[in-house]
Symmetry: C2
Subunit: 296 residues, 2 copies
Amino acid sequence: MSDKKEMLLPNLSVQQLEYLLAAASNKTRAAAAQQLGVTPSALTQGLTELERRVGLTLFERKGRSTVLRPQAKEVLEYARRVVAETKDLTYWAQAQREGTSGQIRFGAIDAIAVHHRASEIREFHESFPNVDLRLTVAPSGPLLEALLEGSLDLVACVEPEVVSEDLISEVFLEEPLLIYAPKEKTTKANQNWGPWVSFPQGSHTRRIIASALAALGVSYEVTAESNQPEVLAEMVRLGLGWTVLPPAQANTGIDPLIPIKKKPLTKRRLVLIRRSSAPLDPAMQTLVNYLKKIEP
Amino acid sequence: MSDKKEMLLPNLSVQQLEYLLAAASNKTRAAAAQQLGVTPSALTQGLTELERRVGLTLFERKGRSTVLRPQAKEVLEYARRVVAETKDLTYWAQAQREGTSGQIRFGAIDAIAVHHRASEIREFHESFPNVDLRLTVAPSGPLLEALLEGSLDLVACVEPEVVSEDLISEVFLEEPLLIYAPKEKTTKANQNWGPWVSFPQGSHTRRIIASALAALGVSYEVTAESNQPEVLAEMVRLGLGWTVLPPAQANTGIDPLIPIKKKPLTKRRLVLIRRSSAPLDPAMQTLVNYLKKIEP
DNA sequence: GTTTATTATTAAGAAATGCTAAATATAAGG
DNA sequence: CCTTATATTTAGCATTTCTTAATAATAAAC
């Protein structure tokens, strides 16, 4: 019975501190034990062990009951503080579990954050003011990197060609991609399509567009690039080239673009992605339901 | 695996919180386990149990190590606070054990506090400034009552006739009691002693005096009473009667009394008394040594 | 006084908790 | 593919902590 390794800190437990508080606030130990729902024997043994670990005698007999020694005052105050903080922690953890509180680092591409799910995100934010929602808007590639690296918890982006084993992906929206041309060329024949302005190399959407055009045998020479769809639309208006965009992003501004055909060239699939190693956060699950427009 | 009685508070332990802090401040769990002096397996199991009790997942895998989830921040801060407070408590308890700190509620009769041990009490107080020494000066009877009742820890008084089983008594000083008479009667014969002024009924010293005089066949008619020896001495000076006092209390003032004989009438024994149920407080033991003039 | 009722502690066995050591994943680097 | 480093799981053992039952101590009642 001595210090085993390096008796740095005594291994007190919250339960022992509760025993102490109950013994301090009840006249008899029998009453305290009943309040705690244990036998008086358990209380005695627990308090004896607490005294041994603190290294001080805290009680002395007075008549047929035990009373706190004056020295115990400090220990009692310590116990009160720790128990109070533990209670706070418990409430907080409960809120976390129920999803009424928590933190979500959410990354989304602009089309989702600004157009398709803007109102759902706002609604979620208003319904759960205690959820600390942090929104990052960026292209799909960087979002996925941040997700893998651990600096994001949930990403809404264009479906990647391959998805890492660590990630769980789920399609929640499909979006048509239409062809837009400068005004004077709107009615021209297929063989004269282009040149093109589009998203930069590495963009998921550009990969999808390139693949669709290749399937039609159309060359895809890109002469100007931007990650901002508004910029691409403006380039088309200026006659710099053709582009392919979701209508939601081509129709913005005072001079919306008109597609050369109503039929989409192709479509892109938008997905929700999260790390499979991260357990299901209830708050995040609620946000996912909002984004999928499933409301309980 | 459900709430057994009334899952009020999770039974977290200081050790589990130390595990958490070690895991948070080391890159790998292997390193954290080594720092704690346990096997990585113990660390894993301990942290798993901690997560279960808090009810939240705190870690997630990142590559081949585990990292804290953002949610764990609050739990981590809780752990830091509790561990820090526990450290403080440990230091305080150590000081208590070593007697360099603590509280002593000390009761003494005036002769001891003012005359015989005044310098020792002052010296102790100066040597151990962190010991909270509370001095109560009162007659022996009330001091013993307060000791039994628990509002004093140590009493220095006149030896009582019978001492309760709950108390431990120890003689540490013997004090002669001399007879003092008004000046004109100093040389008179024994048969004309008195009348007397003395301590009130119930006083330990008065009981001793009465007993000694009775043994000599001298009547002991008390015509005036006071608990204050200075008052008794003054009464003698005023010719109100004879008295019996320890010389230390008769020699005070500008006009010290002269005993009728150098030989003491009797003597009173002064004792140190403490509750037997109260364990030996190191600080109190040190004070007792000072009072017994045993200095290590 | 003696008895009775209440409270606290101790003893003994059962359940739980927590550890080590060994075996089994999992990930990174040749 | 193999090796190394890390983390977890499993199994067995030791410790801790509980309950029940017996004992001790005390106050109150008779």
